[in-house]
């Protein structure tokens, strides 16, 4: 019934001499939310960034193994990283809008793809903002600077920006970690809506959040994938002791 969107095979990553990810094997289902949990420094963010090859930007990172999206290895030599990133969007921990207007922030993606027609841009901006559930709050001030928005609004704007290029997969790196509870619940609600259309992988250190938003959960510890399964199972009946210890708050 569930389709596999991303298949990770024997993924190992070194930063210089340091082993950051050790032999990760994982299958991420299509149009579901998969949460990556674990104590900080466990490699969950690093893992997330291998999925759209953001780690390519770090010169000391060496990688081996395969990441297959729809059976296509994105680390193949013939893969165009730029186009890959258009298909695998990313939302960062710290909201990072450009110091441009709200409109231009969302229009950035389409513009770099060569879309300059006013009408088309207007439409993309509107649908993206609507899908990110922020349209009603900003529709009257699209020309204002994005930096004038609140933290939660900025983060939803960044989600809208990601949606504007129509990705298949959305990676979220602790998207709500810097936000107040109200903004967090808005983001979580949004994630719930988005999984209808997108495959979402979310890193979080907040276990309640993982339990609330995700369908599947992967537990990382010291660069290794300890356990992966349905969120319900992981949280109620983990098979491995370390997972249980972490979830019950005994360490981390």
């Amino acid at each position: 019934m569930k389709e596999i969107k991303i298949k990770i095979k024997d993924l190992t990553l070194h930063y210089g001499q340091k082993l950051a990810l050790n032999n990760i094997c994982l299958e991420i289902p299509d149009r579901r939310v998969t949460a990556l949990i674990g104590p900080s420094g466990c490699g969950k963010s690093t893992f997330l960034r291998t999925l759209n090859r953001m780690n390519d930007l770090i010169p000391s990172a060496r990688i081996s193994g395969e990441v297959l999206i729809d059976e296509l290895n994105i680390y193949d030599r013939n893969i165009d990283v730029v186009n890959l990133r258009k298909r695998v969007g990313m939302v960062f921990q710290k909201s990072n809008p450009f110091s441009k207007s709200i409109y231009e922030n969302v229009a950035y993606g389409p513009r770099i793809n060569g879309i300059n027609e006013r009408k088309v841009l207007d439409e993309i901006v509107e649908t993206s903002l609507k899908r990110a559930a922020i349209w009603n709050e900003v529709k009257d001030r699209l020309r204002d600077s994005a930096l004038g928005l609140s933290g939660g609004q900025q983060q939803r704007l960044c989600i809208a920006r990601t949606l504007s290029v129509n990705p298949d997969v959305i990676l979220m790196d602790e998207p709500a970690s810097a936000l107040d509870p109200l903004s967090t619940s808005k983001i979580e609600e949004l994630i719930h809506q988005l999984k209808e259309q997108y495959t979402i992988v979310i890193v979080t250190h907040n276990m309640q959040q993982a339990a609330r938003v995700s369908d599947y959960t992967a537990f990382f510890y010291l660069g290794e994938l300890i356990e992966f399964g349905k969120t319900k199972t992981i949280f109620t009946n983990p098979t491995i002791k370390q997972t249980e210890d972490y979830i019950t708050g005994r360490f981390g």
Partner: protein, 363 residues
């Protein structure tokens, strides 16, 4: 809306982006320009100095002149050897010309000039020009020494005050204020030295020549102070806080920590700052031209006029004939200055990088 299109090898095939490729190549190419400039400076300053060492024809001339003398009747009684006679015979086949072409004259001059380089007399414009570099060299050294003796203590102590004793608000004002001195054009400092300082010091010390090495040195210290100050201040503030904390924890007070811990830890940076200050003063032209008196005297007295290497180039280059011996000698001086400043910079970098690393990394 988003029809989940599948990832296919086709849609993600590696693309060649021409603008991307061109941008990278263009930017990289331009970046290499700075290296190219350094190399070009090296090449072109030396290129103009090198003709000075072309003296091959001068030898020929000397031989010819000898031959002429021989032909004029000086009996070569002592030249019994056949080998020695062979070469004059070859030359005498051509009639010895009365006037040599320009190139030959130049080479004769070059040869004479080269012989005089290692003397103390700088008299480039005379019937018998002499290009002795020693007085210029010692003059430069004298001015540099005076300048650094003034600039180094002032700059270092001021930097220590700024980084160790001044409250943050004062530091925010002091740093840019002293850095402003670096923005004073050297011609302005030179003018100030010439018009104000020179008379002031003459009244104070009562020496004979109004413009001298001391006035020039003091003026040049104004150019060196901001360099020494800024680099020392950077070195002092980059001493790890743990050093200071450890010292304070051991019961040392504020000034003891600053003087016995921070200052020694920053020695490599301070040393580098002095090197760079020295390089600046050594090659300073306008202040030297305006404040040192420009007389090429060889003397240890700081109140005598001097002529520095850089000032010599500045004063004489505009008046020489392009390509003649004097022109080449000036470029030779330039080449020496260039090598000197290049070496100073390399040494300073070596000190900052090498020593600081060792000190703070414990390697």
């Amino acid at each position: 809306m988003a029809e989940n299109t599948r990832f296919t090898a086709e849609s993600l095939k590696k693309k060649f982006r021409l603008s991307e490729f061109l941008a990278e190549k263009f930017i990289t190419g331009i970046a290499f320009l700075s290296i190219t400039i350094i190399v070009l400076i090296f090449v072109f300053v030396f290129r103009e100095a090198i003709p000075l060492f072309r003296t091959g024809k001068a030898k020929e001339v000397a031989v010819k002149e000898q031959v002429t003398k021989i032909n004029e009747g000086l009996k070569p009684e002592s030249y019994g050897d056949t080998v020695n006679q062979a070469s004059p015979v070859v030359v005498t086949n051509k009639p010895a010309p009365q006037a040599y072409d320009e190139d030959v004259i130049r080479q004769v001059e070059n040869k004479k000039a080269l012989k005089t380089l290692n003397t103390a007399t700088w008299q480039p414009v005379s019937d018998n020009p002499r290009y002795g570099l020693w007085s210029l060299f010692f003059g430069t050294l004298k001015v540099t020494l005076i300048a650094i003796l003034i600039a180094a203590p002032l700059g270092i102590l001021a930097a220590l005050f700024t980084s160790a004793f001044a409250p943050t608000w004062l530091r925010e004002i002091l740093k840019p204020a002293i850095e402003l001195l670096a923005g004073f054009p050297s011609v302005v400092i030179g003018f100030f030295a010439l018009m104000v300082m020179a008379s002031f010091f003459q009244d104070l010390f009562g020496y004979a020549s109004r413009l001298n090495a001391f006035v020039g040195g003091v003026a040049m210290s104004l150019a060196a102070i901001p360099i020494i100050y800024t680099i020392t201040e950077d070195a002092l503030s980059s001493v790890p806080a743990t050093y200071k904390e450890a010292s304070l924890a051991l019961g040392a007070n504020h000034w003891q920590t600053a003087f016995f811990v921070t200052l020694p830890a920053a020695t490599p940076g301070i040393f580098a700052s002095i090197l760079l200050g020295t390089g600046r003063v050594f090659g300073e032209t306008m202040i030297a031209l305006m404040a040192t008196g420009n007389a090429a005297l060889l003397s240890a007295n700081p109140f005598e006029s001097v002529r520095t290497l850089a000032a010599t180039i500045g004063a004489e280059m505009a008046e020489v004939v392009y390509g003649d011996t004097h022109y080449s000698v000036l470029f030779l001086i330039g080449a020496l200055l260039f090598i000197f400043s290049f070496g100073m910079n390399a040494l300073a970098e070596f000190y900052i990088k090498g020593r600081l690393m060792k000190r703070f990394m414990g390697r």
